[in-house]
Symmetry: C2
Subunit: 134 residues, 2 copies
């Protein structure tokens, strides 16, 4: 069902500091940066092979990432799998017992469509599905 | 420096339950299972593209994974990057200011060599380097 790990998202307080540290320590510069208004976040991605490390910083006090940071501090937030057809994947996952947060896909970064699966049904790991712009 | 994301490790209480859920919900079966005595864990990996999801269950009360589970519950434990030459990568990372937990590589699963970077120096994310058996 999944093609590959599209990205691993890390919730951070200061995206510029995270990028600077990543560039200095790992020698990897971000390839993409964007505010995603639907999720009230700013994101920056660093590619490692076919997967991106995605830093996410909240842009508003009521961003879900703000809540995550207040409760748990900085750290890994979710794992995203790349799919060809997100609507078909959501239907299949629901049929197999996964608790889908987004019944219909939402707009993600760079024209992608995304949907989240509730960690209650996946051993406390938050998963996202991503279909890139065709 | 990094070739790709080798695996994403998830600390779990019951590896059989996690595998069963993964097989049922995501339709993905594990490709490898092993006890890694040096880390007092049992692991099982499920391949998604070039990356594996790695479940880790402690096999002893003094396993570092037991401590993680007691403090934080089930969840994502670390991100591992594949490298060609782990000793060269460790030297380079130390020179760039990363706090290396393992100054010399340790034995990981399936004949690999592994070393961890302290989350203090990487914005609270635990990273591992992996060099596979040549």
């Amino acid at each position: 069902m999944f093609d590959h790990v599209d990205h691993i998202a890390i919730a951070v307080e200061d995206i510029d500091r995270s990028i600077a540290l990543y560039v200095t320590t790992f020698g990897q510069a971000p390839s993409h940066r964007e505010r995603v208004e639907d999720f009230k976040v700013e994101i920056a991605t660093v590619n490692i092979g076919e997967t991106a490390i995605e830093f996410i910083q909240p842009t508003s006090g009521d961003s879900p990432i703000r809540k995550f940071l207040d409760e748990r501090g900085q750290g890994i937030h979710h794992i995203a799998f790349r799919v060809d057809d997100i609507c078909a994947a959501l239907k299949e996952l629901e049929a197999k017992g996964a608790e889908v947060i987004d019944k219909s896909p939402r707009k993600g970064k760079d024209g992608s469509l995304v949907a989240f699966i509730h960690p209650r049904s996946t051993e406390r790991v938050l998963y996202e599905l991503v279909q890139v712009k065709g």
